[in-house]
């Protein structure tokens, strides 16, 4: 089912079959490397086993008490549950495609919850978890994947920009936005504004990401570059994009870069708060590399068995972002089984509502093809619309369609 031929509606038996991946020695090594902790430079506050460890970033999470941590846990469980539901809906033919975030919940919820209301976020296409933290109803997002629209939320209200699929180019848009915050004098104190932009490990190779680094450095833009290094750009491991850990890229531009355990929601929260604070006060930009792992396929059209070993996935399961919070909460007596059960029930309901909504999503009307191409009227397009609608009407009248 996860075969790529999905794209082209193959008949059964059409197209080459997925084969078991034949990893090269380098790939095995790369896989192993990827499952280390991300190197000595990795910032971690919560180990995979759920132990809280001290960090220089502790002061950014002093307010995170049991309650707050339960909140983060809930966020992640709900987001994961919705992700799995959407994935299942795609398998059932209810969505054209789904882009799973499985494994990246901590990176997204941690960074998303670090944002203040006045901050702006520019996502790529996998940031359903960030969307959730920005108050976007995931039902407003599902149309993208049911192919009824390109995103239905109120971008200005949620301060959450539309998804961008063209790899890397939202980085420049975010840079411009952050420059605007600066030009408007909204930077300089605790109430300052900042922008965060999300992109992947693969995206770091694009010229636009570089230009975003150059511009934001030159204009001191209050911008946090949040790179989720999930180890893979579809089938290509991070080694295809860089010799060095990606957070080190910042070194060449003169702003700080930091690597955080992307499966540690507390660390992601702390480090992103620090970075945003830097930006708010005019010390931006900052690059964060969240070291994480894409636990599912790239999208539902992808077949990762062709290019990576299941061992790798098994190793990363031990670092699951949700399990470690659960362990910490349980061990510290911050939550008991009834809490976990209640969250699970809430998540099931959340997913059911998403499913229900999706199934009932109306088909957009044909005139939508022609709507909003321009903000101002276009006679040429008006004529095309009129002509096409008249043509459709012809069928209706003739009863043929």
């Amino acid at each position: 089912m996860s075969s790529p031929e999905q794209w082209t509606h193959p008949e059964p038996g059409e197209g080459p079959a997925a084969q078991a991946a034949q990893p090269s020695p380098e790939q095995v090594i790369a896989g192993l490397r990827a499952t280390t902790e991300g190197g000595a430079e990795l910032t971690q506050l919560l180990t995979p086993e759920g132990e809280r460890i001290a960090s220089q970033f502790d002061r950014y999470v002093t307010d995170i008490d049991g309650d707050a941590l339960r909140g983060l846990y809930r966020d992640m469980v709900l987001v994961r549950r919705a992700d799995r539901e959407a994935n299942a809906m795609q398998r059932q033919g209810q969505l054209g495609i789904w882009v799973p975030l499985l494994g990246q919940e901590a990176a997204q919820v941690g960074s998303g919850r670090a944002l203040a209301k006045q901050d702006m976020a520019f996502p790529s296409y996998r940031e359903h978890g960030v969307a959730f933290t920005r108050g976007v109803d995931l039902r407003e997002l599902i149309g993208i994947f049911r192919c009824t629209d390109h995103g239905g939320w109120d971008f200005a209200k949620h301060r959450f920009h539309p998804y961008t699929i063209v790899i890397g180019n939202q980085v420049l848009n975010a840079t411009g936005y952050a420059m605007g915050q600066k030009f408007e004098g909204k930077v300089g104190d605790d109430d300052g504004e900042a922008t965060i932009v999300y992109f992947g490990d693969g995206a770091t190779s694009q010229g636009d990401v570089h230009e975003g680094f150059v511009w934001s450095a030159v204009y001191d833009a209050p911008l946090v570059f949040f790179c989720q290094n999930n180890q893979w750009a579809i089938s290509e491991p991070t080694e295809r994009q860089s010799r060095l850990p990606l957070y080190q890229r910042a070194r060449g531009y003169g702003f700080p870069g930091i690597r955080v355990d992307g499966n540690d929601v507390l660390a992601c929260l702390a480090v992103t708060r620090w970075a945003l604070e830097e930006c708010r006060h005019g010390n931006g930009p900052v690059l964060i590399e969240a070291f994480t792992y894409r636990m599912d396929a790239h999208t539902t059209t992808d077949d990762p068995t062709r290019y990576r070993l299941s061992d790798e996935l098994e190793a990363w399961k031990l670092k699951d972002p949700i399990e470690r919070v659960r362990a910490f909460l349980a061990r510290g007596g911050h939550a008991d089984q009834s809490f976990f059960d209640q969250i699970q029930a809430e998540a099931d309901k959340f997913a059911a509502e998403l499913r229900e909504y999706t199934f009932n999503l109306p088909e957009p009307p044909p005139e939508r093809v022609f709507s909003n191409v321009y903000a101002e009227p276009s006679p040429v397009l008006d004529a095309q619309r009129e002509e096409y609608l008249a043509y459709l009407d012809g069928f209706a009248t003739a009863g043929e369609h």
Binding site: L172, M179, E376
Partner: protein, 343 residues
């Protein structure tokens, strides 16, 4: 939509000024910046230098470095940050130094600038203007004389215009900035400082709507349609045809390349029966192709000869010692008129 309001310029000076196209653009930009402090200019060398053509001369001095930005050297960066600034509520005006350098910004133009309004069902507007000096005839080296406007006309979501005279330059740039749609604004660089075209500009009231073509010379025997630098070529040809052979040629300045406003062209062709479309760009899959395609459809029974085209050739722009051969000139236009009349 921020309509162009009366500018300080008008108050301080007479409403009628004798201007070149370059100076008219400069004053038009100034007026737009005075009218709306969300208007900002960004590009390479637009600050102290005033741009390599001096179109932004004096603006950084008067409006400061946060409204006239000398940017890093990267066109994708210029367009891409302009999109972000527009999302934030600014009205950025980008300068691309020469049309040949717009291509590194192509992805931002086609994937973001053109589509953001559509993608968001109108929730996000991107009132960005991209100013592009274009065309040949300046004896330049490679990449400094091209005419890529047709590429942008093919991309839905963009508006594309070109001015051919000082009054249009002054007003169209302000109208483009006031428009809530992204506008690619093609400027006939070889005419920037052409003194022959210097003419009185009424800075007190606009010359008409932005997205409208205009008959700039009336005639009865055949119609010439052009835009930007080719309008002057056509007008000169019409004068010559009248003087030398007593022929009456109608000349239409397209002004808006996308959306096309072909109403005046259809109307004219129904009278003259003949049309010659003129551009410096290569002909293949171009605006002149579109004009021919639509005119043959709308005026099928009126055409007494096929629509002819006088264009640059389907080659890269040649070394400029050869450009007189490449660029449509008065003779080639008149030759096409002869062919049309002789059909």
């Amino acid at each position: 939509m921020a309509a162009p309001v009366k500018s300080k310029i008008d108050e301080s000076t007479s409403a009628l000024q004798k201007l070149t196209i370059g100076k008219a653009l400069n004053l038009g930009l100034r007026a737009a910046m005075e009218a709306d402090d969300k208007v900002i200019i960004l590009g390479e060398d637009v600050g102290k230098l005033g741009g390599v053509f001096r179109i932004t001369d004096g603006l950084q001095k008067d409006f400061g470095e946060q409204r006239v930005l000398d940017t890093p050297l990267a066109e994708s960066g210029i367009i891409g940050t302009a999109v972000g600034l527009a999302v934030r509520g600014f009205r950025p005006v980008c300068e691309i130094q020469f049309e040949g350098f717009i291509f590194p910004g192509f992805d931002q133009i086609s994937s973001q600038l053109a589509k953001l309004h559509y993608r968001t069902q109108g929730r996000i507007k991107v009132p960005v203007v991209v100013r592009v000096p274009f065309g040949g005839g300046i004896g330049a080296v490679e990449h400094h004389s091209e005419s890529p406007e047709s590429l942008f006309a093919h991309i839905a979501g963009l508006k594309v215009v070109s001015c051919s005279n000082p009054a249009d330059a002054y007003w169209m740039i302000q109208q483009a900035i006031a428009s809530d749609d992204p506008v690619l604004f093609f400027e006939p660089k070889r005419l920037y400082h052409n003194g022959q075209l210097r003419s009185e500009v009424d800075t007190s009231s606009p010359v008409g709507p932005l997205f409208a073509s205009r008959v700039v010379r009336q005639g009865t025997d055949a119609t010439l349609v052009a835009y930007g630098p080719s309008v002057k070529v056509c007008l000169d040809a019409a004068v010559a045809a009248s003087n030398d052979e007593g022929r009456s040629l109608e000349v239409i300045d397209l002004r808006t390349i996308s959306p096309l406003d072909l109403g005046p062209v259809f109307e004219s062709v129904r009278r003259t029966g003949r049309l010659i479309a003129v551009t410096e760009a290569p002909s293949e899959s171009s605006i002149t192709s579109e004009i021919a395609a639509r005119v043959q459809q709308e005026c099928f029974y009126s055409l007494e000869a096929p629509v002819l085209r006088v264009t640059g050739f389907d080659t890269p722009y040649p070394p400029s010692k050869l450009e007189e051969h490449y660029l449509p000139d008065l003779d080639r236009v008149l030759h096409a008129v002869d062919r049309s009349l002789g059909w």
